[in-house]
């Protein structure tokens, strides 16, 4: 029978059928970070279990560490005990830790692909909802909660129900100024934040095939923002070229065997999906969110929506969102004054993202009233960017060049946008209070964020 990419990975990882639609699934990779990971490792060992397969587990602190230049673990004191606990327990059980300041450290969803730990055809989980990012490598990757995380630590398996299959095809030529971030925000704007609930999404179509791996990771990163269990892109030569020679990728004869297997993974041409949707790329323009949910998104040259003209069941939510954001319906969003720009997060802090932002910042100056931060996604990205001189470009333009971590994406390390201030952020969530209590967030691509820093207001990158 014809099968999808998802089916092939799922089927080959079923250990046993538990009945009532549930199976026991083998997990090939477990990633831990300093919030959920450190805690689960501690809690599960207190219950008397030990990690079943420590060599399949990798840890990296990212959430509760400062990203201030010259930081140590003590710079953000509340995070220090978490990191110390993670160090102690990973050492005790022989789990590989990418410690801060060391090559390999960074945001967990940047580190997996970058180190060659995330491989096509594998199952991967992490106690973090944006684990779906790793699907960009052709892996089946889920975000899980703390109890499930303890379960994986203790058994290297998960009790799962099979999600439905949803294919989204992006077809056509990518218009000027449009990036993977704009593609996925456009899709969420079209379908809403609950469209993917209960589904595994496969992104396909000519525009996806044409994306570099880092763009595919950005695309998959926001799958959870449309409610999907996961997102994935079929592995191809682009994937294999990206993976070849990475620290943990297979080498030599093993590499050839792996690639031969990976080539069997893409969906069969006649495979069935439970749901299909196609996006015509000609309709996609650079996006910016206006409200407090990723589905509150418009093309940057559009007006802020009017709740009275919106769908009836959304009016209350739109009104509340505009009030929180301090915006007036009907006005153009372009030109809205901005106080902060944050370029970072597991969505958009890879080297190609920093290059795109640097291309805009080069030879220009940020607006004097704007605080603009560049937070590279990993130590590796930071070093690569510095070798290319991107840090100089940013510093010359008045941006702050920081250490890797989650930072202002979630503000769990004390790095916040102050109440009432407006930020353009390359992250993935514009929820109420996400970047700090009272903070007003607008999601956009790295180039759009850099443009906002230069103009001091929401700007259309195509006009710069």
């Amino acid at each position: 029978m014809a099968r999808t990419l998802f089916d092939k990975i799922w089927d080959s990882h079923v250990i046993t059928d538990l009945g009532n639609g549930f199976v026991l699934l083998h997990i090939d990779r477990l990633l831990l970070h300093d919030l959920s990971g450190a805690r689960a490792l501690r809690d599960v060992t207190e219950k008397g279990y030990t990690p079943a397969q420590p060599r399949l587990i990798y840890a990296t602190p990212d959430h509760a560490i400062s990203t201030m230049p010259g930081r140590t673990e003590e710079t953000f004191p509340p995070g220090a005990p978490l990191l110390r606990g993670l160090r102690e327990n990973t050492k005790k059980f022989g789990i590989h830790l990418f410690d801060i300041g060391k090559d390999g450290n960074g945001i967990v969803h940047i580190v997996g692909p970058e180190q060659g730990l995330t491989l096509p055809g594998t199952t991967l989980v992490c106690g973090d909802s944006h684990t779906c990012t790793h699907g960009g490598m052709g892996s089946l990757a889920f975000g899980i909660g703390s109890s499930e995380l303890e379960h994986v630590l203790a058994t290297q398996t998960m009790v799962q129900r099979k999600p439905k299959r949803f294919r989204v095809q992006f077809e056509g030529k990518v218009p000027e100024g449009v990036t993977a971030k704009d593609m996925i925000l456009h899709l969420i704007g079209d379908l809403g934040t609950a469209a993917g609930t209960g589904h595994a999404v496969e992104y396909a179509g000519s525009a996806v095939r044409g994306l570099a791996v880092e763009g595919r990771l950005t695309l998959c990163n926001l799958s959870i923002e449309m409610g999907a269990r996961t997102g994935m892109v079929a592995p191809d030569d682009t994937t294999f070229e990206y993976l070849a020679g990475r620290d943990f990728s297979p080498k030599g004869a093993m590499w050839d065997r792996a690639v031969a297997h990976w080539r069997t993974l893409p969906s069969d041409p006649d495979a069935d999906f439970d749901r299909e949707h196609t996006i015509d790329m000609a309709r996609v323009a650079p996006q910016i969110t206006w409200g407090t949910s990723p589905e509150h998104v418009i093309a940057v040259d559009r007006a802020i929506p009017d709740p009275d003209r919106g769908p009836e069941d959304k009016r209350a939510a739109w009104t509340a969102a505009l009030q929180y954001q301090g915006l007036e319906p009907g006005k153009p969003i372009e030109g809205t004054k901005v106080d902060w720009v944050f370029i970072g997060s597991c969505t958009n802090s890879r080297i190609s993202d920093l290059r795109a932002a640097a291309a805009i910042a080069k030879g220009r100056q940020k607006a004097p009233h704007v605080n603009a931060w560049i937070v590279p996604g990993s130590e590796r990205v930071k070093r690569e960017a510095e070798a290319e001189g991107l840090d100089r470009i940013f510093k010359d333009a008045g941006f702050e060049w920081r250490e890797p971590g989650c930072s202002m994406c979630i503000a769990s390390n004390g790095e916040r946008v102050p109440p009432g201030q407006r930020s353009v952020s390359t992250s993935n969530r514009n929820f109420v209070g996400r970047q700090g209590p009272g903070a007003r967030t607008h999601l956009a691509s790295p180039a759009m964020a850099a443009a906002a820093a230069i103009k001091g207001a929401i700007a259309d990158v195509r006009k710069l």
Binding site: I15, T16, L18, G19, G21, F22, L24, H26, L35, S36, R39, Y49, R55, L56, A64, P78, G79, L82, L119, T122, D128, S129, G143, I144, G145, S146, S147, E148, E150, H151, A154, T155, Q156, P163, T193, A194, T197, I224, G227, R229, F248, P250, W255, R257, A258, H261, S293, A317, I410, A411, S412, N413, G414, P419, R429, F431, V432, G433, R434, P437
Partner: protein, 205 residues
């Protein structure tokens, strides 16, 4: 885990769409609070309290008789966003035993069952009617959620059936722990791994 059979009590109408887990519990509460206990006071703090820390009287969760309600009524996509299980711990800490909404974020939905909290999915019209019946006679109105028979009984006595996976129902009714259940399949796990090490050696670092 505690067993869940039935709950009768006040149902608080928190009728908004896309209640995300950032709204349920702020992440810094999970950095500072190292256990599962003690998160109740911070549950929904962004809507329960004003920026100066005083109670927001407009929030339904601060109004009588809804304060401390064991049941929460809400709209589509409850618990979307972050995977933080702290959202469930915070709800439980505030005394919530059941959420009734039309749909849920997948990860939040799973997390509920790991902590003895029951997420009931009912069509939006039903949830709204429950909310109306609650508002019609504040003080006396009670909702009953019966997991054994998979039904909700409204304040006016309407019986509304709901669906739930048999496996999850069984685990919740009996307070079963997932890890212990999986350990009974240890042999099968090891057999799968032995086969896989031959088939895909590159996965096994």
């Amino acid at each position: 885990m505690e067993k869940f059979t039935r709950v009768t009590g006040v149902a608080a109408p928190l009728m908004r769409q896309n209640v995300d887990t950032d709204l349920v519990i702020r992440i810094e509460r999970l950095v500072n609070n190292t256990g599962r206990q003690g998160l109740g006071p911070y549950c929904f703090e962004q809507i329960r309290f004003k920026p100066d820390g005083s109670e927001n009287p407009d929030c339904v969760l601060n109004q009588e008789p809804y304060r401390g309600a064991p049941i929460i009524l809400s709209a589509e996509n409850f618990g979307c966003g972050s995977s933080r299980e702290g959202a469930v711990w915070a709800l439980a800490g505030m005394g919530v035993k059941v959420v009734i909404a039309p749909s849920y974020g997948d990860i939040f939905y799973n997390n509920c069952f790991q902590n003895g909290l029951l997420p009931v999915a009912l069509p939006i019209e039903e949830v709204e009617q429950l909310a109306d019946e609650m508002r019609a006679s504040p003080g006396n109105a009670r909702v009953t959620v019966d997991l054994e028979n998979c039904q909700v009984v409204s304040p006016t006595g309407r019986v509304i059936p709901f669906k739930i996976d048999a496996r999850r129902q069984h685990a919740l009714l009996n307070g079963l722990d997932d890890i212990a259940q999986t350990m009974t399949h240890k042999d099968k796990v090891e057999a799968w791994q032995t086969t896989d090490k031959n088939a895909r050696p590159w996965v096994w670092l």
